[in-house]
């Protein structure tokens, strides 16, 4: 039997919290800070791990939508192959591990190349900014628990973004 990843994370967090943290000299502030962040990181990973496939899928959807919008407004751009590949991976029931993530990276790289090209007109740049909204929202929602958002209510709920 393979132990559940969640169980393994759970016991690691418990050991660090209940046994290691109390044994640490309070004067060792650097070690205290790193232990606190190590525990916080493990807790976040434990919470997010079951959602990771859904996040990878949604990130690819967002990147494809961005690329399609740019391609529609600037048909001369070299985006169609990456878009077609993304479509296939979104439809696939059992894609290879990491394939969707790699396809997202390829789409973003292709759109970035458009953004950097000197001949790309301002309306296309504005479109890239506009259509980057969903991916930015997803990343912010994913990292909300880190506590960096000054106004967390401004960030869409992760469950809604992932259609859970």
């Amino acid at each position: 039997m393979v132990p559940e990843l969640d169980l393994q994370l759970c016991v690691a967090i418990k050991a660090l919290t209940d046994t290691v943290a109390p044994a640490l000299d309070p004067a060792q502030r650097v070690a205290q800070e790193q232990l606190g962040l190590a525990i916080a990181t493990l807790r976040m990973v434990r919470e997010r791990l079951p959602l990771e496939p859904a996040r990878e899928w949604k990130a690819l959807v967002d990147a494809r939508d961005l690329a399609e919008a740019v391609h529609a407004q600037a048909p001369g751009t070299d985006l169609s192959a990456s878009i077609a590949q993304a479509q296939g991976l979104l439809a696939a029931s059992n894609p290879a591990p990491g394939a969707r993530k790699a396809a997202t990276a390829r789409l973003l790289a292709a759109v970035s190349a458009v953004a950097r090209a000197p001949e790309t007109p301002r309306p296309v740049l504005a479109l890239i900014v506009d259509k980057s909204g969903p991916s930015t929202d997803l990343a912010r929602a994913w990292c909300l628990a880190a506590g960096f958002e000054p106004d967390p209510a401004e960030v869409p709920a992760l469950a809604r973004l992932l259609s859970l």
Partner: protein
């Protein structure tokens, strides 16, 4: 671990030559960024013992003081996300007298969340002394002749970055809440110090300085700064972000000429000053590694960045750096400095700062944490998540100007 197919993980000389040619930066910035790339394929950070680091530090001190000194009580200092810091006590003989002083070694890890110059930081601290409370600088070792990595030594400054009665779980002073009583007392000093910094004479940074000159009436130095972070984005990113590329283009095309050249701290915010909890006086300004000769609006917008502030007790008033509403800050800064606060430049530097922060947090932070390059990868990895908050703000700002 870094992706082995990633050309940035072990950059070849052709890659390095290309980025150097594509992005013209100040010579000292070019030096540290080029060194970073050439060392990238090398080992990550290996834990250094206090004993070993004390020995290296003693070697640096010996080169300046000779053998007649004692280094004792070495201890790690927390805080900050980028440099390794060790405090120690030094006793030495000078002009026939015995002197003692607590000091701090501030040393780079193999790669940091921001790759900067110890020589520039040393010069900025020296330049600001006499105008602002800063630790007295002693010695530096920019080529790691004595230390494991480049570093500098300055006097230990007493004080705290946040109230001991209001413990914060956040890193590097982000979102510090000073409380309603202390807030106005610190805000007065904060604004006065920023005004003094931006109006101080710059002749102290003379011939041979590691800061390239900046000229009022020209935007050349502004473009150099944009290029600094474009180059970092090009060197460090693991994944593209089209928004960042749009920002880079807009910043180059809209760079405003300087109307006044100031020494800009570059990270002027809560968390980077110490204050005495009894006297409630600011005792030291720290972390000068991002300082530049440039535009005061860079500091003004940095300190009022959404991620460095928080809402007051009324739930509606947003406090820049947890101290003062941004509009009050600008009005009082104008009165204190005699310099104008220009809304167009504020908008430009808000985008500039968010662009640079995206480079730090979305490109460099995951790159160096993934490579195991720092003494606190867990802090750097955690901090990288703030990049998404900043990217959201950058997108909103770009939507207004495009």
């Amino acid at each position: 671990m870094p992706n082995q197919t990633d050309a940035r993980a072990a950059p070849e000389e052709r890659f390095i030559a290309d980025v150097r040619e594509a992005f013209a930066v100040e010579p000292e910035i070019d030096r540290v960024l080029t060194r970073k790339l050439r060392n990238r394929a090398g080992p990550g950070y290996s834990a250094i013992s206090l004993e070993d680091l004390s020995g290296s530090t003693a070697n640096l001190i010996r080169a300046h003081l000779g053998d007649d000194f004692t280094l004792s009580n070495a201890r790690w200092l927390g805080g900050g996300a980028s440099k390794l810091q060790m405090a120690f006590d030094l006793e030495w003989r000078e002009a026939g007298e015995t002197r003692s002083q607590a000091m701090v070694l501030r040393m780079e890890p193999p790669e940091a969340i921001v790759e900067t110059s110890r020589r520039r930081e040393f010069e900025a601290l020296c330049a600001a002394s006499g105008t602002l409370p800063v630790p007295r600088c002693r010695w530096f070792d920019t080529e790691a002749q004595y230390l494991p990595y480049p570093g500098l030594i300055y006097d230990f400054a007493r004080g705290v970055t946040k109230p001991s009665s209001r413990p914060s779980q956040q890193v590097t002073g982000i979102g510090t809440n000073f409380g309603p009583e202390l807030r106005p007392v610190l805000a007065d000093q904060f604004i006065a110090h920023m005004a003094a910094l931006h109006t101080m004479p710059l002749d102290v940074l003379g011939e041979g300085s590691a800061f390239a000159p900046a000229v009022a009436g020209s935007n050349e130095s502004v473009i150099r700064q944009v290029n600094w972070w474009r180059r970092v984005w090009e060197e460090d990113r693991l994944e593209d972000c089209p928004l960042v590329d749009v920002a880079a283009r807009w910043l180059i095309e809209n760079a405003p000429p300087l109307d006044h050249v100031s020494l800009v701290h570059g990270d002027f915010r809560a968390g980077n000053f110490l204050y005495d909890e009894d006297t409630r006086r600011i005792t030291a300004w720290l972390d000068w590694e991002l300082s530049v000769l440039g535009d005061r609006h860079q500091d003004l917008t940095w300190t009022s960045g959404a991620h460095f502030g928080h809402y007051a007790e009324d739930g509606v008033t947003f406090l820049a750096s947890g101290l003062v509403p941004a509009e009050d800050l600008y009005r009082r800064y104008e009165a204190a400095s005699g310099l104008s606060v220009d809304p167009v430049r504020l908008r430009y530097y808000r985008i500039f700062n968010d662009f640079a922060s995206c480079a730090h947090m979305l490109a460099t932070a995951p790159r160096v944490a993934g490579g195991g390059k720092t003494h606190q990868d867990v802090v750097v990895g955690w901090l990288s998540m703030i990049g998404n908050v900043i990217a959201g703000k950058l997108r909103a700002s770009l939507a207004e100007v495009l």
